[in-house]
């Protein structure tokens, strides 16, 4: 209850802040001299009008004009950010409605203020600004964060659905509306076929970010998610291409001039533009990946390379009238894989966050423009047009989904059920792209532009608010098949085995499928591409990296607990007899308590937020669990089995462990932060080395001898290791008759750290046999 009150208080406080922010905003608008809505603002020209002719030196002067545009834009962005903060503070809101609703509401508010203060149309969004600056971050972010494997597995379905779906929708809506326009009663007869088709293509651009968020929340199955995601990705590109083609047609002025040749040329152009864009993007992606290979020493420019190359691919494609959107998407997808391997951890994080930030800003601005345009005189309301547009959008969406999927289901081994199709149909939310395209229609060619804008705005409002809010309950109601992703080492191994098995059987029965294609691509990739595009480093298997991650977690875990008990057995003797049954029992108990399973799900797509890294969450959870179990054992009065130590041979005898000291040292290591992550590169070596050096320096043991089993083996080509030394091997664990595990000199760095902490809790099987 108290927290609820607190949340409300927070809500009120930010509301107050919001209102106060509006004041300078409104004031700014009052001051503003009349500004031409379409031309770019020239700062210099207003000097004379604003200032007073005066000979005295002014102590206090106001010059708002020169900073007006950046000031307002920044204010808008801040406002939207405040709104988002408030939105997330009140816990129930994000579950009720998507964030786009909020942004539109903010926009409407701003628009209302502008409208209320001086009855002037807002500073307009021009074609250039939109296509060059606002659209690009959104596209880049979509391409970069796309989960590649599911995408390519469903590639043909996605391609089929998005290309044909957009085409069917565009033409369907356009033609139906043309039919309606022919009816004289509605007063729409001056809207030509081309204009209708253009409108159809504009309005069929979907923006299912809200739908995706809902699906992710409901952990719907991967295929469904991928279809909607893939559609949104390709849909933007296709719609813009169609838009361009139709505008070009419209510019040919007379309807009768358009012959069959032109229509065919239109088709051909569609393909050239699409495929050309992809090719361009791939080339640019490769080049940038290649360049990141050499940036070890100036890692600060790595994010710059990534962004600039993607942007360049967009611009270069646009110069040649090829689809810049598809180019940028292809560039991001190609680049991501190699760049992630090459760049340093910090650059990687920077790239991710910066991308999210930019795209968030763009989207905010567009929605604010949308809201601002709603309140104003830009409208022409025509009941028939608007309502029929809405109707046709819904009808054609449903039709296209069911028609296209019934065909593609025949070729899929995992067909989409009616429920899935219903969800896909319902997730056709329109958003920023439709609005922008409508806003940017050249008024000379489209005398009824205002009507189009009105209709688009109504559709967007309807889909975002009504469909966006109800899609959550709908998904729950339909009880879409869930994905149950829980990744453990076992699962990784089994899935890998299955992949190979499947390929093998396909080879045996002489089968060439897209699965083989992936296999071949992977081989080609490993042989040629990776050698050229990535730094000198050994390829890692995903099983191993997953395993390593788990080990690290468990090492942290063990270090945290500060438990020390170790056993040792002379070298390489494999087995059971070395340990007394109590040791085995205690180890087993500890293992059973603390084995932690790595959980991982498909990448969740949320434009507005970066999901917390899975590893951070796990580390936190391990820490929490640990502290919890420690507290429990303390409470129960069980002492940690420090006493039970099997005599340790040789140099290590100096070490009868000092738990507190180790705890300090080990927590120090844990806070080192940069534990080797998935991208093994030179830096992680440095980190673990410096960590261990510090560790060593901390005076382990009186004799200065390295503690038992402490060694970091430089195993060739395995990342994240340090110096090697020899030490007796450790038998940590054994199951009678089944498993036996021991530790030997050639071990992983992290496990050695763990061993040094001395705990015998294995958690995850550190075993090496010599």
């Amino acid at each position: 209850m108290a927290s609820h009150v607190l949340a409300c208080l927070n809500l009120w406080s930010w509301l107050v802040l919001l209102v106060t922010l509006q004041c300078p905003f409104a004031a700014a608008y009052l001051d503003l001299p009349n500004n031409n809505a379409t031309s770019a603002y020239e700062p210099g020209s207003h000097d004379a009008t604003g200032s007073v002719q005066d000979e005295r030196l002014h102590v206090f002067k106001v010059d708002y004009d020169s900073v007006q545009i950046p000031y307002e834009v920044t204010l808008w962005i801040l406002l939207a950010s405040l709104a988002k903060i408030g939105f997330h503070l009140y816990h129930r809101l994000p579950n009720l409605m998507p964030e786009s609703c909020l942004l539109i509401a903010v926009g409407v508010l701003v628009g209302a203020i502008i409208f209320g203060t001086d009855h002037k149309s807002p500073p307009a969004m021009t074609t250039n600004i939109y296509f060059l600056y606002l659209l690009t971050p959104i596209i880049l972010e979509e391409g970069y964060f796309m989960p590649t494997r599911p995408f390519f597995e469903n590639f043909f379905s996605i391609l089929w659905w998005s290309v044909l779906g957009s085409l069917v929708n565009a033409f369907g809506i356009g033609l139906s509306l043309y039919g309606i326009c022919q009816i004289k009663v509605f007063g729409l007869t001056d809207v030509t076929l081309l204009q209708n088709l253009l409108f159809g293509s504009m309005i069929s651009a979907v923006d299912p970010a809200a739908a995706l968020a809902v699906l992710e929340e409901a952990s719907a199955n991967e295929q469904l998610y991928m279809m909607i995601f893939g559609e949104s990705l390709l849909n933007d590109g296709i719609t813009v291409v169609l838009y361009d083609i139709f505008i070009a047609f419209t510019q040919m002025h007379r309807y009768e001039d358009i012959e069959a040749v032109d229509v065919l040329a239109g088709f051909a152009r569609f393909f050239v533009v699409g495929l050309g864009g992809v090719l361009f993007g791939v080339v640019f992606g490769m080049v940038s990946a290649f360049m990141t290979r050499f940036t070890q020493n100036i890692s600060a420019i790595e994010p710059l390379l990534v962004f600039m190359f993607s942007y360049l691919s967009y611009l270069a494609a646009e110069t040649l009238y090829i689809s810049g959107i598809l180019a940028m998407t292809a560039c991001a997808v190609t680049m991501k894989k190699y760049v992630e391997e090459n760049v340093s951890q910090n650059s990687y994080t920077t790239i991710k966050y910066f991308m999210k930030m930019l795209s968030s800003v763009s989207e905010t601005l567009i929605f604010v423009f949308l809201g601002v345009s709603t309140v104003g005189k830009n409208h022409e309301w025509n009941w028939a047009f608007v309502s029929f547009t809405l109707l046709f959008c819904l009808i054609w969406r449903v039709l296209s989904v069911f028609a296209l999927f019934s065909i593609s289901n025949k070729f899929r081994t995992y067909p989409f059920t009616v429920k899935d199709q219903l969800i896909i149909a319902y997730s056709g939310l329109r958003g920023a792209s439709s609005f922008s395209l409508a806003f940017l229609l050249p008024i000379s060619l489209f005398p009824r532009k205002k009507m189009f804008i009105t209709a688009t705005i109504v559709i967007i409002y309807f889909t975002v608010f009504i469909q966006g809010i109800t899609i959550g309950p709908l998904v729950k109601y339909l009880d879409v098949k869930k994905t149950n992703k829980k990744e453990s080492i076992n699962e990784e191994i089994h899935v890998r085995l299955m992949d190979h098995l499947k390929t093998g059987v396909e080879d045996v029965c002489g089968h060439w499928s897209h699965y083989q294609l992936r296999y071949k691509f992977k081989k080609f990739d490993n042989k040629c591409l990776k050698k050229i595009l990535t730094r000198e480093k050994e390829p890692k298997s995903s099983i191993v990296s997953l395993y390593k991650k788990m080990e690290i977690k468990q090492a942290i875990e063990m270090a945290e607990s500060g438990m020390i008990s170790s056993t040792a057995i002379p070298h390489c003797a494999n087995y059971n007899n070395g340990l007394s049954p109590e040791e085995v029992e205690s180890m087993r108990n500890m293992l059973a308590h603390n084995l932690y399973q790595v959980r991982q799900r498909t990448l969740s797509y949320n434009r507005h937020n970066l999901t917390t890294e899975a590893s951070e969450r796990q580390a936190k959870e391990i820490l929490i669990r640990h502290q919890h179990s420690l507290k429990q054992t303390m409470r129960k009065g069980n002492s940690l089995p420090l006493g039970r130590m099997v005599p340790v041979p040789q140099a290590a005898a100096a070490h009868v462990a000092k738990p507190e000291k180790y705890l300090d040292v080990c927590t120090f290591i844990c806070m080192e932060g940069d534990f080797p992550q998935n991208s093994g590169n030179g830096e992680e070596r440095v980190n673990s080395r410096s960590a261990t050096r510090r560790f060593l320096k901390q005076g382990l043991g009186e004799g200065g001898a390295p503690p038992l089993g402490f060694h970091l083996e430089a195993s060739p080509g395995y990342p994240g290791v340090g110096e090697s030394s020899s030490a007796p091997c450790l038998s940590i664990f054994s199951y009678r008759g089944g498993l036996t595990l021991q530790a030997v000199p050639n071990s992983f760095a992290v496990s050695s750290l763990m061993l040094t902490a001395g705990s015998a809790r294995l958690g995850g099987g550190r075993s090496r046999t010599g």
């Binding site: 992703k485 499947k502 029965c509 002489g510 499928s513 298997s541 595990l741 030997v744 090496r768």
Partner: protein, 214 residues
């Protein structure tokens, strides 16, 4: 198959037994003939003729699976020396995709069969359990594609996996409990969350290119 005198009858019989359609059986028969060099049976050496299979890390296991009597439903253990077309089809039937008209019970049976096939791949000594040694071998083979990875790494991974399996299957273990190995029931438990039906299938009619065998 030697002489197809009442060909359609035999095809029908096979179709009923294994669940393939007659088109699929025709295709597979052609492939069988290619592999066996027109002989009525295939032996292990015939699999060496498939060039793409060379690159597969678990090649030996796959070939073994074809001759495993448990998969052929002939005996609880042991390996056959050669298989005929019917056996070939039996093995292939494990990879059929699921059909929409299957009911719950059929689906469940189907799933169990596929999982049993996988289980047999791990359990090479036919004792009904996957012991640590066997698991280790599998992981080693899987990771054998990467020349830089040492054997110990593979082994430790297998050990870790085993322990994880132990915790899933048996949960908290009593002090004197011993975990012998993964039994089939435990295996089923591990696979509970994973959709094997959608992963373990091969599209049998979609044979666009049939590579040459020598």
């Amino acid at each position: 198959m030697g002489s197809f005198h009442s060909r359609s009858e035999e095809v029908q019989e096979l179709a009923d037994k294994t669940g393939f359609t007659s088109d699929q059986i025709e295709h597979l028969h052609r492939r069988f003939k290619q592999l066996s060099g027109d002989q009525p049976t295939i032996c292990r050496e015939n699999f060496d003729n498939i060039p793409d299979l060379e690159l597969n890390p678990i090649r030996s296991k796959i070939i073994r699976a074809f001759f495993d009597k448990r998969n052929l439903r002939q005996a609880p253990g042991g390996l056959a020396d050669e298989i005929n077309f019917e056996d070939f089809l039996t093995i292939m039937s494990y990879f059929r995709p699921i059909e929409m008209d299957m009911d719950e019970e059929q689906l469940d049976r189907f799933r169990k069969e596929k999982l049993k096939f996988l289980f047999h791949m791990y359990d090479s000594d036919h004792d009904g359990k996957i012991t640590l040694q066997e698991y280790r071998k599998v992981v080693e083979e899987l990771l054998s594609g990467n020349p830089h990875l040492e054997k110990e790494s593979a082994r430790s991974i297998a050990d870790g996996a085993m322990m994880e399996a132990a915790s899933i299957c048996v949960g908290q273990m009593e002090p004197d409990q011993v975990y012998e190995g993964i039994t089939f029931e435990d295996f089923l438990k591990i696979w509970q969350g994973i959709d094997i039906e959608t992963k373990m299938h091969v599209r049998f009619l979609n044979m666009e290119t049939i590579p040459h065998c020598h």
